[in-house]
């Protein structure tokens, strides 16, 4: 094939997808960064009506205690949720790759919550599992005779964070489990075989073979976890419906959505699109910092099997 027709073909094949990328990723990201330096009364204002304030919005935000609180909430979700999900997902992955029967069934069943809409899943938890009259936990603990636990007010403002995290992590486990399973299955069986012959126990093998060889996988899961918790929104929205958002479960993304797009029950609509943009930029900066840190800490050893 001559080089000219090849060039035309490559252009025809790649341009539409590239255009999509430019329209919904490149342009909006750059414009959001630009917007964060301006006061913008209305989100549809022309650029000529924007008021340049430099880093003014950033300092204003950092001086808002409610906004600072949202970062504490993010950190709690990222750290505690991250630890819980990693431990459970890893346990499940190890169990499923240990040679049990019905592996395909269990794997599919544990992943199942991920294919249910988060809105539906959240409502199953709020209106069934956590309900104090007919709830799953209420019935279970009453049956076991643990009356104190049975009366636990899951959706009371003070317990909202705990309840939300349980519901969110329950759904997330299956996804990370799948990634760990595919990581573990890439480790050649003869390594374990050799360790077994040398008299290593299962637990010893896990800590000295599985974990070190999963380094690259941990980097992937940490990156995905960071992206998903930085965009943490739906669960906060669901768990705070019908009442003013409890500061306990308000994440930066949620704060941004409330302040920019407003809400009927919102008490702090700022109506400054620049403020929303500044929050987005902060979120992105945090993402970049975390990604860099992850890549620095977990170095690629180029392990090939």
């Amino acid at each position: 094939m001559n080089s000219k027709s090849k060039k035309i073909m490559i252009a025809c094949f790649t341009l539409p997808a590239t255009l999509c990328f430019l329209i919904v990723f490149a342009y909006p990201v750059l414009r959001t960064i630009l917007m964060s330096f301006y006061n913008i009364d209305n989100i549809v204002s022309r650029m000529s009506e924007w008021q340049f304030v430099g880093l003014g919005i950033f300092t204003e935000l950092l001086n808002t205690s409610l906004f600072r609180q949202t970062w504490v909430t993010f950190l709690k979700i990222w750290l505690f949720g991250g630890i819980a999900v990693t431990l459970i997902a890893l346990t499940m992955a190890v169990i499923l790759t240990s040679g049990i029967r019905g592996k395909a069934f269990f794997r599919a069943a544990i992943y199942l919550p991920n294919i249910i809409s988060a809105v539906a899943l959240a409502n199953m938890w709020i209106h069934y599992a956590f309900n104090v009259r007919w709830g799953l936990f209420h019935s279970l603990f009453s049956f076991l005779g643990w009356d104190k636990m049975a009366e636990f007010q899951w959706t009371a403002p003070d317990n909202l964070f705990l309840s939300m995290m349980i519901a969110f992590c329950f759904g997330a486990v299956g996804y990370y489990m799948l990634i760990y399973i595919s990581g573990i299955e890439k480790i050649p069986a003869d390594i374990y075989e050799a360790a077994r012959i040398d008299g290593a126990s299962i637990i010893y093998s896990f800590f000295h073979i599985t974990l070190p060889l999963l380094k690259g996988v941990f980097r992937t899961t940490m990156t995905i976890w960071t992206t998903s918790t930085l965009g943490f929104y739906i669960w906060s929205q669901m768990f705070s419906s019908n009442r003013d958002p409890s500061a306990q479960i308000m994440t930066p993304t949620y704060y941004m959505m409330r302040s920019t797009f407003g809400d009927m029950t919102s008490t702090f609509t700022a109506n400054n699109a620049g403020l929303g943009a500044a929050i987005c930029v902060m979120i992105m900066i945090v993402a970049v910092i975390v990604f860099t840190a992850i890549n620095r800490i977990i170095k690629d050893d180029d392990i090939t099997f």
Partner: protein, 286 residues
Amino acid sequence: MKKNKTVPSVNWRKEARLLPGYIIITLWVTFTAFLIGWIIVASLSTTKEIFSNQMLASGLHFENYSYVWVKGNMGKYFFNSVIYATCSVAGTVILSAPCAYALSRFKFFGNRTLTNLFVLALSVPQIMVVLPLYTIAVSLNLLNHRGTLIFLYICLNVPFCTFFLINFFSTLSRTFEEAAAIDGCSPIKTFIKIMFPLAQPGLITVSIFLFVNIWNEFFIAMIFASDNETRPLAYGLYSMIQAMTTTGKWAELFASVVVVFLPTLILYIFLSEKIIAGVTGGGIKE
């Protein structure tokens, strides 16, 4: 194949060693089953029965479903979701497949850069892009139009889909294409006649995976199509829940939850392997 072999006898020592594992995953799965099963049973009972813990005492109440379908507008939202999911999946795959093919098969200026940009787009939080897109949609008067949401879903999913298909195409053998090239077949014809059929397993996997994701999408829909006429099922459910808890229509509430998750659940029961392959094929960026 397996039937010809002698059935291996159960190795009880091995099974006993695995017992703690069996217990943990069985408990977890039982819990999941309870969570979903109870909702389905409650959706077929009356609110009174739910309160008195005597579900299904008076038989199956399918009228909960007809209530949310017609009076609750779930039928309309369902129809919207079907349109959004099918059109967006078709559009995404049609745009991504040729691009992934070119990126995985040909060396050209900017190939690496473009691939990296798509990978980069995978880790951009969606919140980074919604403000300018919202501005455009408002100023062009495109808010609450079905086409707008479909367009956004297509564009937002192109990087993932392209990335997934690049990985998939690179596993396919080149021999057929080389033979076609020798026979004088043009690259575009080669792609349509040879690659597209060969790539079908990958295309089906990514399509199903995208379908489920778009069906469940909430965030973008809330911003761009929250209108009563255009909202999809997930947002429709959200907007109904508050009204139903205040009026105490609990059975109807659970019925509407079921309407949202039943389609993806049924799809999953038949195609779980494909959906799981979608996660492990695209989620891992290595």
